[in-house]
């Protein structure tokens, strides 16, 4: 790894340049009006198979290229115990995944039938979804993970997807596409949770029947897959150094942590140290988490890492990490000091006081009120449905959390952010994107054993506006994933964002890069493409969506 000669800006100094927001963040759940009638099926049993409580993901992507984000929701499946041995089934329509086409930014129609996505993957109990244009044809493709199998789905256009087999056995969880080796094509990283199938299920009955701790099962390694030009997928985990790194992985997020031009990886692990996979520029990784200060909490303790995001929360130009976990563990915030060291800033950022009783899954660091600072949204709910019986201070279902970033300190604004933040639920996967193209970020949450939340952002903008930058790569991957985008507004504020659909938990977000800005003109936009090219656009008039194409030659 090449350590970048980054200016060592201190955490305190960097956050002082952000501006306070003036509006109050508000979201409204319009799932019913939007016509999203999906319902997740966990198929809970008295045996309490671990898969029943882990939930599923959601993707926001424009599959039909009409400029509107569509919704793909992953379903669990039927756990059939009457057959020969226990297995999951997806034949019934209510057990299938769903694709909803965005009609006009407000209404959605179910277009699953005939799309080829119904039973992905392979009838197995469904988990996560990733989005990336892996064949560089301009259409976003999918990968869907499940317990025992995963599959890729190439977008053929016209609402149809063609299945491609993935060499991905085991319990697949989150996944993400990125060009790790700099060849202009996307690879697929799939996290695997632990060594479990129905035959390895353990009944945990003490002190009361409950889902077993992941510590009862062995760790596994994650998978890195590469697509050949012939359309087959190869497992390159061993060559990439991924196969030798064991964990109990759930969330995954990407960014260039050390500004050396390649893509590094943070993996959230449940009850095992978190992983920080540093790329040597050739797509080979070493886990540097312990030395970098990312593996554990400030006391050297492990926790149940679940969701993760890897973005620059304090606008100092270096990406930071937030990992959600279980109640009493405190969501972890690691602030990148630019020298390869991450500071655990959960307490000083105010996250400790906000999240001590929370259990978080899908999440995002993003500017939800368009004030230039990245706020925090978390889908929540404890993993154990019996938690209240063993810990009187905790509850199973919880509303989502909305924490506003005020000068680097998070303030819980959930109470004033809308009725949905008062409603208990078992939130799991969460994806983010501008569903109605009004400039701000909306959220869709896949609820365990329930109907999803379709949260439209209704925050008063007070003269600020959002801009979504759609990247079109040439030497870089076509969908621009892996680019680092920096903008500077006339007030001198600089913001940074890494282009990725990965992050959160089991989910894939809008591939466009979102910023909140004041005024109608940006002093400049700088893009460092994955190919290594840098591009600068000056005096850019702000529009809701800006399309930026990578120059065809440097």
């Amino acid at each position: 790894m090449q350590r970048a000669a980054t200016v060592a800006m201190t955490w305190c100094a960097a956050i002082a340049t952000t501006l306070p927001a003036v509006g109050q963040i508000r979201f409204e759940d319009r799932r019913e009006q939007a016509g999203v009638d999906f319902e997740h099926a966990a198929s809970r049993t008295e045996s309490r198979y671990l898969i029943e409580t882990m939930g599923a993901g959601v993707a926001l992507f424009d599959f039909d290229g009409d400029g509107l984000l569509d919704i793909f929701l992953v379903n669990g499946g039927l756990i059939n115990r009457a057959a020969h041995g226990v297995r999951s089934e997806r034949d019934e329509p209510v057990m299938q995944n769903r694709l909803y086409r965005n009609v006009d930014g407000h209404r959605f129609e179910d277009v699953t039938g005939g799309s080829g996505l119904e039973t992905a993957p392979d009838g197995r109990y469904g988990m996560g979804v990733a989005v990336g244009d892996f064949d560089n044809d301009g259409l976003p493709d999918l990968a869907v993970t499940g317990v025992g199998a995963a599959a890729a789905y190439r977008n053929l256009g016209s609402g149809r997807f063609e299945r491609e087999e993935l060499p991905a056995a085991g319990w697949g969880a989150s996944a993400g596409f990125a060009d790790f080796d700099g060849d202009g094509r996307l690879e697929l990283l799939i996290t695997r949770y632990l060594d479990w199938d129905f035959s390895k299920h353990i009944e945990c009955l003490e002190p009361i029947p409950s889902y077993c701790s992941p510590t009862e099962h062995d760790s596994v390694s994650n998978l890195l897959l590469q697509r050949s030009s012939a359309g087959t997928w190869d497992d390159i985990s061993a060559a990439a150094g991924i196969a030798e790194i064991q964990g109990k992985s759930l969330g995954v997020a990407f960014n260039d942590a050390d500004a050396d031009g390649d893509i590094d990886v943070v993996v959230a692990n449940d009850s095992e140290p978190q992983q920080f996979l540093v790329n040597d520029g050739q797509g080979r990784f070493v886990d540097d988490a312990l030395l970098a200060g990312l593996a554990l909490n400030e006391d050297g303790g492990r926790y149940a890492g679940m969701g993760v995001d890897f973005q620059d929360y304090d606008n100092d130009g270096t990406p930071d990490v937030v990992i959600t976990n279980l109640a009493r563990e405190l969501y972890a915030l690691y602030v990148n000091d630019g020298s390869g060291v991450f500071d655990y800033r959960t307490r000083p950022s105010g996250l400790a006081g906000i999240t001590a009783r929370m259990s978080g899954w899908g999440m995002l660091l993003a500017d939800l009120d368009l004030d230039g600072s990245k706020d925090l949204f978390v889908a929540q709910g404890h993993v154990l449905d019996t938690i209240a019986e063993t810990d009187g201070a905790l509850v199973y279902e919880q509303p989502p959390l909305l924490a506003r970033n005020v000068g680097g300190r998070f303030e819980d604004v959930s109470a004033s952010a809308g009725a949905v933040f008062q409603r208990d639920a078992s939130g799991r996967g969460a994806a983010f994107g501008d569903l109605d193209n009004d400039g701000d970020l909306d959220v869709v949450v896949n609820i365990l054993d329930g109907k999803p939340l379709a949260l439209f952002n209704e925050t008063p903008v007070d003269g600020r506006r959002g801009v979504a930058i759609r990247l079109v790569g040439s030497a870089s991957p076509r969908d621009g994933q892996g680019a680092v985008v920096t903008i500077r507004s006339p007030d001198g504020m600089e913001q940074h964002r890494f282009a990725t659909t990965a992050g959160s938990y089991l989910s894939a977000s809008d591939s466009r890069v979102h910023f909140g800005v004041a005024g109608n003109v940006l002093e400049w936009i700088r893009i460092r493409w994955p190919s290594g090219q840098t591009q600068e656009l000056r005096d850019v008039e702000v529009d809701d969506v800006l399309v930026v194409r990578e120059p065809s030659s440097p």
């Binding site: 400030e298 006391d299 060291v341 307490r347 001590a356």
Partner: protein, 349 residues
């Protein structure tokens, strides 16, 4: 038995000699059989009862031993040195009411004999005469301060006294601050944390200036992860009880959890001034200094903590913290050393 044995016919004399020989040789079953036969043949023969009592005592058959000693004393009330043994055996046989007059008389006969104090104290305790029991057991402990049985008896006695005093408190003044405080502590011990919170709150409402309430109440809020409520209580406790290192440390800890590291430093330093060996406060102070990026000071505090020899859990945590501090100070090799020490201490065997 020599003098008295002269009055026995030859066959019984032989039986007595055989019994005594068996006793001397430690063959207690045989001795008991022979001495038992002797007492049946000559029920008024005191030495037979006395020696049978001694054999039964050695066998641990305290109830039977007591009966033999009682019979011996009936026949010869002025027998010396028997009452302490009888008293002991009566206590062992759970005949506490019978033991008390025997041991009291033994005390009168030999006021300096401390061996009577322990069984008498136990007998008093079992009969509910707790104040007298305390006097006797304390007296016994002057001779054997580390005797395990005595320590156990004293511990049980204190618990009984505590229960009795608490019952009296709750019966006489159930709504008094002292009673509410006591009930709150009992609720904590019983794991009824919700009840404990309410009772501590009621205690403070009844007596806002009462010491020793805010810190345990704050602990309950901290346990429930309500840091703001805990901080309120700890702050007020630290103000009202400035000599309490625990109050100062807890206040500092709650401030840290609220992300107010700069404010946490002063109470943590105060806690360490009051109790320089309070390692938990040192650990928290190290964190607070780290929050403020005062890495060199953090290192000094944490290194001093390590030098003080903490338990392995705190040592592991401190090594991990120090690894980070050293990284921030640009000392990668030292950071690695601390990480290795952390890994050694946390490795599962």
């Amino acid at each position: 038995m020599t003098v008295a044995a002269q009055t026995l016919p030859p066959d019984l004399l032989a039986l007595a000699k055989e019994g005594l020989a068996a006793k001397e040789a430690g063959r207690y079953e045989d001795a008991a059989l022979k001495l038992e036969a002797l007492t049946q043949a000559r029920p008024g023969f005191v030495p037979a009862h006395l020696n049978l009592g001694l054999v039964r005592h050695e066998q641990g058959e305290f109830a039977k031993a007591a009966k033999s000693f009682e019979r011996a004393l009936e026949l010869s009330p002025s027998l010396p040195d028997v009452r302490p043994l009888l008293g002991f055996d009566l206590v062992q046989a759970a005949r506490f009411a019978d033991a008390i007059p025997v041991l009291e008389q033994a005390r009168r006969e030999s006021p300096k004999d401390l061996s009577v104090a322990a069984p008498l104290g136990l007998a008093y305790m079992r009969e509910g005469r707790l104040d007298e029991a305390l006097g006797e057991l304390q007296r016994a402990s002057t001779a054997a301060p580390d005797d395990p049985e005595l320590l156990r008896a004293l511990s049980e006695l204190q618990a009984r006294r505590s229960t009795l005093l608490r019952s009296r408190l709750l019966a006489n003044a159930p709504q008094s601050p002292a009673a509410l405080h006591t009930r709150a502590e009992a609720a904590v011990l019983g794991g009824r944390l919700g009840d404990a919170t309410v009772l501590y709150r009621q205690t403070l409402e009844a007596a806002p200036s009462r010491p020793g309430v805010r810190v345990p109440l704050g602990d309950l809020y901290l346990e429930a992860e309500d840091y703001a409520a805990a901080e309120d209580l700890y702050r007020e406790a630290a103000r009202r009880e400035p000599g309490s290192a625990r109050a100062q440390e807890r206040w500092g800890e709650s401030l840290l959890l609220l992300g107010r590291g700069e404010e946490a430093i002063q109470p943590l330093q105060t806690a360490l001034r009051i109790e320089p060996d309070r390692l938990s406060a040192s650990s928290l102070l190290g964190k607070a200094l780290g929050d403020l990026e005062r890495w060199a000071e953090a290192e000094a505090v944490l290194q001093a903590l390590l030098d003080a020899g903490p338990d392995s859990e705190l040592a592991a945590r401190t090594h991990y913290q120090l690894a980070h501090v050293c990284r921030k100070l640009g000392r990668a090799a030292a950071a690695r050393d601390h990480l290795e020490a952390y890994e050694r201490l946390t490795r599962t065997p």
